[in-house]
Subunit: 80 residues, 6 copies
């Protein structure tokens, strides 16, 4: 799960563990947001609000779940 | 379905039964939320509200359904 | 589609017919809600409201559709 | 795409054409709603409202799209 | 991507190019809406509103994305 | 990831890297929006608003996640 130095983007979807795969899914979800709103100051302000709203948190965890489907499939579900 | 001691994160997506797989899907959904809002006191307060709102409950059960797709595929749908 | 006596949880995702598979998808959707709000009295009250709201019904039927994808894949789409 | 006489539920997910598959996806979406709100009078009243609301229509067409994924996979995407 | 003369419905999910596949996904999304609201005059009026609402546009593009998954799988992702 | 000169539409879903695949998923998400609202002036105005709304950003990143599933599958998850 080495990152590409310039963009912070993962070079591969393969991870050693389920947990690392889940972290990668979270990372992909955040990268999806940053591509639309690259201003970190704005993102931090928004985060303060939605982290205290149950429905916003559920929506965020849904995006993570969708990206985790992708990462888990890439890793053959860490079945070995 | 042994957990990693430090993080409470499952070491594997494989489970013995459908029910354990469903429990794992719920766990993944909650881990997705905790990664955004790690403060358990805030989470408990939010939970009290959304557990009494039908649309919030439906949204939560949708995230569980998405994670259950992943876990079920990992387990080849417990077909044997 | 035998249930486990203690939890009402299905022991298998395999069903004889498409219709039974759809019923199982509905059951999984409801189990997802009950895990968050186990109080049946609260659930009944909420149900009375959202069963009369079109958007809530659509959202509920979306969760069923996602769970039906899982059940249908488990059954190889009842192709035989 | 014969229906089971008593429940109106399809006996199979297999259809001759893409269009019939899409119709089946719509049928499954409506069956998902009817299971929660079986009162046809209520459903008709709700329909009058949401059929005139753009976001409700988009949400309904999303459920159809999810069910169409299932039906299309069942039919090997009518590739022959 | 020949259409069936009477219904405007595609006879196949197979397309020559990625772009045609995306157009087909858009078509399927619109057919899903038309099945619920067949009155073109109403649809045009609704369109004027939601085409100027960011969240409505995102929701519409989500349905397209779901249908594009189906079309892309049908075409083996145009891998050749 | 050559684009077709006239439409800006990708000729293929295949990319060299995960990052390029993610960029393609973002592109597909935006193309989905542009098909409904082709007026770039309107889109820019809407973007200014939703880029400052947490829930809108989450919804946008969900569409990207769905399109990324498609692109990742097309590329066999860049497993080599």
């Amino acid at each position: 799960m080495n990152d590409r130095p310039q963009t912070g983007f993962p070079a591969s979807l393969l991870t050693q563990t389920v947990e690392e795969g889940f972290e990668l899914a979270i990372k992909l979800s955040r990268l999806g947001v940053k591509k639309t709103q690259p201003d970190m100051k704005v993102l931090k302000k928004l985060r303060a609000k939605y982290a205290n709203n149950a429905d916003s948190l559920t929506a965020a965890s849904q995006v993570v779940a969708i990206n985790f489907q992708t990462v888990a499939a890439a890793n053959n579900y860490w079945r070995t």
